[in-house]
Amino acid sequence: MTKGFPFPLPFGRDAERGSALVLVPAGFLVLVMLAAMAVDSAVAFLGQRQLADALAAAANDAASAAIADPSFYASGAVVIDPVRADQVVCQTVAAQSDGDLHHVVLAVAVAGAAVGVRGDAEVDEVFGRALPGLHQRHVSALAVAVASQGPVTADSVALDYQRISC
């Protein structure tokens, strides 16, 4: 007890009594921030799914609409035309109207009847954009389609991806 004060000053454990009250808003703030991080992760997952869906549609479309007519009608051989594949991929990805995806970079690989599309994009965060350097997250996806009249596996197809500009 300190002399000179009109009331007894606490010391020891008594000195910290009630201080937990100050930690309550800080604790709640941490909880809310963790929840915000969870939402931002869900937004990144959503963007990744959008990109994957767009690339799957692009690969599917390229595997059918980009089949080289001369070789198909001349000999029945199913071969993808790389130039048409690039065009179809660009058209399909643009047609998805995925406004949530930014700086989309596409790479297309064609090998015989197989076409692969690889994509990278940035997704805006909902809460993270308030923090410098954390306003966007990078997402990527890959899709492979093979034009065939029967069942095939794309695992054995070696693809060399070339970046395209739409």
Partner: protein, 153 residues
């Protein structure tokens, strides 16, 4: 008030934070929770709408004929939304571009009003922002059951 009585009741030592700290904490917690729950509801609805649009477009272009394409696409979208725990009755599913022809680009749009909040044990509450998802695919130029040539422009 004697020192012994003050010690007995716990006193107010260390109460510098004040009661407003507790009120402010509750305010941060409640507002933050509602904000995060609302954002989560929108993101979750967008996921469901995206999946529904994709399934609808895919089903449309793979349909056996033009008569069945629209109905099958709608059913696929409804089943996808139901799988995500959403009511298909609250969704607006429309074919915004294309038709059942070789090489035609088909675009399906799904609109759904996201819930205001999604609460545990209570479920989806209220109606908030409208979420829109689109998916686009080409009808296979080499498929059967369609007239015309397979040449794409």
């Amino acid at each position: 008030m004697s020192a012994s009585w003050r010690r007995f009741t716990g006193g107010e030592a260390g109460f510098a934070g004040g009661l407003e700290g507790l009120v402010f904490g509750m305010l941060v917690f409640v507002l933050g929770t509602v904000l995060v729950a609302n954002a989560w509801g929108v993101v979750d609805t967008k996921l469901a709408a995206d999946a529904a649009a994709r399934q609808a477009a895919r089903t449309f272009v793979e349909a056996p004929d033009a008569a069945a394409a629209g109905a099958e696409a709608r059913r696929a979208a409804d089943e996808t939304l139901a799988g995500y725990g959403r009511s298909p009755a609250r969704a607006a599913i429309s074919l915004v571009a294309g038709g059942f022809e070789r090489c035609r680009r088909v675009t399906v749009e799904v609109d759904y009003s996201a819930p205001l909040v999604e609460l545990p044990l209570v479920g989806l509450v209220g109606s908030g922002e409208k979420v829109t998802a689109r998916h686009s695919e080409i009808v296979d130029p080499f498929r059967t059951a369609l007239a015309g040539t397979s040449r794409c422009p």
